[in-house]
């Protein structure tokens, strides 16, 4: 894998909740390499969606406070850009698609006008050229009757088609990075398969790195090269997908894998739940937040916050934040 196209250092987001100020993203650092599909995985409330919003600078200011040492997009540090230059970057060098296809598009504007507006804003094409590129882009995402789609309105399309329009809009300006926040969660499983394939195929041919945010481990296995597991605003494990699924080292990752139901034509493996509850963001326990639910936790886990470090000491790309990790990947557990 070649050089990083997006590298994030010490990103934190705090939010005002009923029980006081809560740090929902806690000093996150990771990088996204060119052409890679990186999964940002975690359950509800772990802070993955807010991380995406923070990267795009979309966190509404009074409600959320974003701090970061750096968010390097190629040679630009987004943290230092003012709102105007940030706007020039959004949708051109870094773009984002969302989960709810029904409400993500403007209901009173036609697909054509929404698509060509983005193209004209970032590629400086005139009205006529923009319409042509829009049709081109729609065909590129597998829309057969692109001309009819251009004239139609969001409520006339199905969920799958709307998500494809979003992808067309996001990829129209050949961005370096595409952030996809639960892109297929609201779709049926057959449509999801099609959209995921569309997404990675486009990413490859445009050389766009994709940050795929999801809670579905099946989607991670199928669509991602590498994945970050998040829990209570922190990365607890980071690994290539193969290592992650065969030999997870963090107890939470292992717990997730044991809890996800898997279709098998042979004997059915019963799912095991992870005991306990996710702690409230404004009342996080000291040390490792997973300690109360972790079978391997001890006093050290409850006091000292584990840092993210390589699994077997040297510069391996499989890293975890745990004092008592599961046995190292050399021998299967």
């Amino acid at each position: 894998m070649n050089r990083a196209v997006l590298s994030v250092r010490n990103l934190s987001v705090s939010v005002q909740t009923g029980l006081g100020l809560a740090r929902v993203v806690d000093r996150l650092s990771f990088s996204l390499r060119e052409g890679e599909v990186l999964g940002l995985v975690g359950e509800s409330g772990c802070g993955k969606s807010i991380t995406a919003a923070a990267l795009m600078g979309l966190v509404p200011s009074p409600a959320g406070i974003v701090t970061a040492d750096q968010i390097m997009l190629g040679d630009k540090n987004l943290v230092q850009l003012d709102e105007a230059s940030l706007r020039r970057v959004r949708g051109s060098e870094i773009s984002m698609i969302f989960q709810e296809p029904l409400t993500a598009l403007d209901p009173v504007f036609s697909i054509g006008s929404q698509l060509s507006t983005v193209i004209r804003r970032h590629r400086g094409e005139n009205r006529h050229q923009a319409r042509r590129s829009s049709v081109e882009m729609l065909e590129r995402v597998g829309m057969a009757d692109a001309h009819r789609i251009m004239q139609s309105y969001p409520h006339q399309l199905s969920g799958g088609m709307r998500q494809r329009v979003m992808i067309a809009m996001a990829m129209a300006c050949r961005p370096r990075v595409l952030i996809a926040d639960e892109p297929t969660t609201a779709l049926d499983v057959t449509t999801q398969a099609q959209v995921l394939e569309q997404l990675s195929e486009l990413g490859q041919s445009f050389g766009t790195a994709i940050l795929l945010i999801t809670h579905d481990l099946g989607v991670v296995a199928q669509a991602c090269d590498r994945a970050l597991i998040m829990y209570c605003g922190r990365i607890v494990e980071e690994a290539p997908v193969e290592a992650l699924f065969t030999a997870p080292t963090h107890p939470y990752t292992a717990g997730l894998l044991a809890a996800v139901p898997r279709i098998s034509s042979a004997q059915v493996q019963r799912v095991q739940a992870i005991p306990g509850l996710v702690p409230h963001p404004a009342a996080l326990p000291d040390g490792c937040h997973f300690a109360d639910r972790c079978p391997r936790a001890d006093s050290q886990c409850r006091t000292l916050t584990p840092q993210l470090q390589a699994v077997d000491g040297q510069k391996s790309i499989h890293r975890h934040a745990c004092h008592h990790p599961l046995s190292s990947p050399s021998h299967a557990h």
Binding site: S44, V189, L217, F245, L256, L257, P261, R262, I263, L277
Partner: protein, 326 residues
């Protein structure tokens, strides 16, 4: 082992909705569905959105009046029941919903929510109902102090367990779970799945478990029914369906579910989207997307064919597809 009439049997049920606005017209959500559920068994019903699963559940619960067909409970038709026996049936079939946020009345405490069915069905003496509610909470793994709390103070997993407790209180024979775990996180979902299996084991409660996720269905179901655009296209014992699915749509569904194992590649089998239920295709409703579509599929509606040895009723494998001629 199942000699007496099935606990619940649905015969050629048809449910239609009048659609306001747009071109209007009549939407056939359920188009002639039949299946049985035997006491103490879990029947999994799977299908994508718009397949009519929820309309089916609501018509069984008499929340929606079916246009045709009938629903029999212990062999007795629900529509023709007198008030007294209908009231008894309402006690015997309970409903659990998908959205934990919306299934509990927001301005009433958990105690009020749980005691309401007890008062309504006049179960036990008033004094003992509070204790009964505590026991129900314990069976679903919650401490009694939850009774004083309000729905918005609980996590979605806890709320779904309260909804399950509410369903248990009238001591039903059948619980219809409509996407009961779909909006829960994986770790919480696993806890509810374990709970449902325990309830079936210890209390002998039958479940109609509705979901769009086949992996969850496999965890629970003894028998599985697959619906597409208002029609039942395949019914089979779980072990048969997941090993040798007969209908092309079931096979496509099985392959489309992303397997949490990177080594196992998921080929994309199905293209296009389900057509609108307002204008279902002629002949077999799946023919517009079926990889093995034949001429007759476009014209003739496939009939119910049983493809395994006739033998025992409850292990029959039915499929509605021209590929499987009698």
């Amino acid at each position: 082992m199942h000699t007496n009439p099935p606990l619940l049997s649905v015969r050629d049920l048809v449910v239609k909705y009048r659609v306001k606005g747009g071109r209007g017209g009549l939407l056939t959500a359920v188009n002639g569905v039949s299946f049985d559920i035997h006491a103490g068994s879990i029947f999994g019903l799977v299908g994508e959105s718009g397949s009519g699963k929820t309309s089916l559940a609501h018509s069984i619960m008499q929340l929606v009046q079916p246009c045709a067909g009938e629903v029999l409970f212990h062999g007795e038709n629900l529509a023709h029941m007198k008030q007294a026996s209908l009231q008894k049936t309402r006690r015997n079939i309970q409903l659990v919903f998908q959205d934990p946020l919306a299934s509990l009345s927001p301005r009433r405490s958990i105690a009020q929510t749980l005691i309401e069915p007890l008062d309504h069905f006049r179960i036990d003496v008033a004094g003992k109902r509070h204790a009964r509610a505590c026991r129900a909470l314990e069976t679903v793994g919650l401490e009694p102090d939850v009774l004083q709390r309000f729905p918005h103070e609980l996590s979605s997993g806890q709320r779904q367990r309260v909804a399950l407790a509410r369903a248990l209180l009238p001591e039903p024979e059948l619980i219809i779970a409509d996407e009961a775990v779909s909006s829960l996180d994986v770790s919480v979902q696993a806890r509810i799945i374990e709970l449902i299996l325990d309830l079936r084991q210890n209390l002998g409660i039958a479940f109609l478990f509705i979901a769009h996720d086949l992996a969850v269905i496999q965890q629970l179901a003894d028998r599985v029914g697959v619906m597409y655009l208002g029609k039942m296209i395949e019914i089979a014992p779980a072990h048969r369906l997941f090993r040798q699915a007969a209908h092309p749509y079931t096979r496509a569904l099985l392959e489309a579910v992303p397997v949490p194992d990177p080594a196992h590649a998921n080929p994309v089998v199905l293209q296009g989207e389900p057509p609108s239920a307002l204008t279902p295709p002629a002949g077999c409703v799946f023919h517009t997307r079926c990889p093995q579509v034949m001429e007759q599929c476009r014209v003739l509606e496939p009939l119910d064919t049983q493809i395994n040895e006739p033998g025992l009723k409850n292990t029959a494998h039915h499929v509605w597809c021209h590929l499987w001629k009698e």
